[in-house]
């Protein structure tokens, strides 16, 4: 009986320690989540396409890494503990590698097993587009609804909205650009908007020559529904330019990646939910 009492006391003692540890872990994690969720809204990192509301995302994501694995340009990365996001959740740093939307079906969303990246809206948008296409092209010889479908799905990506900084933008300053925008050792790749080559092209291999810099406009995978180079005549009669972001912007961040200024003159603000 004495032995039993002793082991019971030991069990109760270690249980108390265990409960204490759990409370500490819970409080710590809860606090960190709270401050990072608030912080995330104002920082440069984006969640991948189709991510649900941050407070649900944080538990819907099981940190498996399937979205990271399937992304053809490796835009999605795992947050470490120093990124200020919940550890192990996926994010996109568009300045380093933008999501260039050159994939076939927004696979990152389709592959997510727990719908932290929610595929249903994309699927519906795609189906609706096919329906529309069918009405006019059913008898067409070159019947191919696929481009229409994927276009509709891409329009449904809403990671954020681009915003131009008028004070540093080369176009706004009336300057052109010549050369490779991010230097010769930049690792990012970009295969939009033409998508003619099967392999992704490293940005360091692309050479541009523009009288007025408009890289963000010409490289945008969404084209002129998202960003155009606005031209107007100033009060003193000179021509002024400024990239103008439109409703079609999905926040993919290619413009941020290709922007040749030291600090990007265009940034993507995450969608606020």
């Amino acid at each position: 009986m004495e032995h039993f009492d002793l082991s019971r006391r030991k069990f109760l003692k270690s249980s108390a320690v265990a409960v204490g540890a759990l409370v500490a872990v819970g409080a710590g994690v809860g606090y960190l989540q709270k401050i990072t969720a608030e912080k995330r809204i104002n920082q440069k990192f984006l969640r991948p396409p189709g991510s649900i509301d941050e407070k649900d995302f944080i538990y819907a994501c099981i940190k498996c890494g399937l979205c990271i694995q399937i992304c053809p340009v490796h835009a999605i990365k795992f947050a470490g503990i120093k990124e200020g996001l919940a550890y192990g959740t996926p994010y996109i740093d568009v300045r380093e590698q933008a999501c260039d939307l050159s994939c076939d079906s927004i696979q990152c969303v389709e592959t997510c097993p727990t719908a932290a990246l929610y595929f249903v809206p994309f699927k519906n948008a795609g189906e609706k587009a096919i329906e529309q296409y069918d009405k006019t092209h059913k008898v067409d010889e070159n019947y191919n609804p696929f481009p229409v479908q994927i276009r509709a799905m891409k329009e449904n990506v809403k990671m954020g909205v681009a915003k131009v900084n008028e004070h540093t933008c080369l176009a706004a300053l009336g300057k052109g650009f010549r050369g490779t925008p991010r230097g010769d050792d930049f690792k990012g790749i970009n295969r939009t908007p033409d998508g003619s080559s099967a392999k992704a092209t490293p940005l360091k291999d692309k050479v541009y020559n523009r009288k007025i810099c408009n890289l963000c406009v010409t490289e945008c995978p969404m084209g002129e529904t998202a960003i155009v180079l606005d031209k107007h005549t100033g009060a003193d009669g000179t021509e002024k330019f400024l990239p103008k972001v439109l409703d079609g912007c999905v926040g993919c961040g290619v413009c941020v990646m290709v922007c040749p200024t030291r600090e990007p003159s265009i940034i993507v603000e995450p969608v606020k939910s």
């Binding site: 082991s7 030991k10 069990f11 270690s14 249980s15 265990a18 409960v19 759990l22 872990v25 819970g26 994690v29 809860g30 989540q33 649900i52 407070k55 649900d56 944080i58 538990y59 819907a60 994501c61 099981i62 940190k63 498996c64 890494g65 399937l66 990271i68 694995q69 399937i70 990365k77 795992f78 470490g80 503990i81 120093k82 919940a86 550890y87 192990g88 592959t111 097993p113 727990t114 719908a115 932290a116 929610y118």
Partner: protein, 310 residues
């Protein structure tokens, strides 16, 4: 699960019935000749490294064989889900009413892995797949060495602490609406670090393994890990396991010294066994260390019911 046993033990064997006497050898010579093999350990480590290697190669060379990580993965297009993540999400979903993430892939992934490990014995996952188990096995060797040299003392706890942690982590998930356990889960952390590159979070693994080496043997696996606890519950009725033949046992208890969960081998002690044959309980990880070390081959893998049919 709780190792309860109310049957009366069989009478102890007489000296003539002990296997080394039957073989006409001294205990020491018999034990040295037949014990301490490494057959199953070699096979198991190959499988463990193979599975984790396949994860790494799949990402490195875009093989599409085994993608994701041990938290959730896809085996040639077929989803698999970690059971404790599944449980945590279910618990949170009850609270938030947000069931959207219960996709078909989620259901398939969770049930497939459940059925697979039910058949394979539950905690089979721990010793045959879990990378932290592999690390901790080496830590255990170091720990044993230090204990033998009397540099450190052994600290043990009550093994039912695991159930407390199991409930506790689910409760934490419920209260904070967050996969709290996944943030400190060494299985996921190691798996992700190996596949997608290391991070500062590996310091946590270092702390854990150091604690296990210098303070308490196999602390995480024995007393904390809710994944192992979940598998141990699943493995309760598993057909695949380890069986024990009293006839071939010399009560040397070598198996208990190598076992992660020695309480499951209670029947190898002299005068404890209640029948000629025993099946090891659900805490057993089916690692095969006891099978390797047993000089009399008293322990072996079995499919329950199968050997009766034969």
């Amino acid at each position: 699960m709780f190792g309860k046993n109310n049957k009366k033990p069989l009478p102890s064997k007489s000296k003539e019935e002990l296997p080394y006497v039957k073989a006409g050898m001294s205990f020491k010579a018999w034990r040295e000749k037949f014990g301490g093999k490494h057959k199953w350990r070699t096979i198991r480590w190959s499988v463990l490294l193979g599975i984790n290697g396949l994860f790494i190669l799949s990402f490195m060379f875009d093989l599409s064989m085994l993608e994701g990580s041990l938290s959730g993965s896809r085996l040639v297009g077929f989803y698999l889900m970690d059971p404790f993540n599944t449980l945590q999400q279910l618990v949170i979903s009850f609270y938030t009413g947000h069931w959207v993430h219960l996709t078909m892939n989620f259901v398939i992934g969770a049930s497939t892995i459940f059925i697979f490990y039910f058949l394979m014995g539950g905690r089979t996952f721990c010793s045959w797949v879990c990378p932290y188990h592999f690390l901790a096995e080496w830590g255990e060797k170091l720990h044993n060495y230090f204990v033998k040299k009397k540099k450190i003392k052994e600290h043990t706890y009550n093994r039912y602490l695991r159930y407390l942690f199991w409930v506790g982590f689910l409760l934490l998930a419920f209260l904070t609406r967050n996969l709290v356990f996944e943030d400190i889960n060494p299985v996921g952390i190691l798996s992700r670090a190996m596949i997608y590159g290391p991070g500062l979070i590996l310091l946590w693994i270092l702390i854990l393994i150091t604690f296990e080496i210098v303070y308490s043997k196999r602390f995480w696996c024995r007393y904390v890990c809710p994944i192992g606890t979940t598998w141990s519950m699943v493995g309760n009725l598993s057909p695949f396991g380890v069986k024990f033949d009293l006839d071939k046992c010399a009560h040397c208890r070598d198996c208990q010294t190598v076992c992660l969960v020695p309480h499951e081998l209670w029947f190898v002690e002299k005068g404890k066994a209640t029948s000629q044959r025993h099946d090891v309980g659900s805490d057993c990880t089916r690692c095969g260390l006891c099978i390797d070390i047993c000089p009399g081959n008293a322990l072996s893998y079995t499919i329950k019911g199968w050997d009766k049919i034969l």
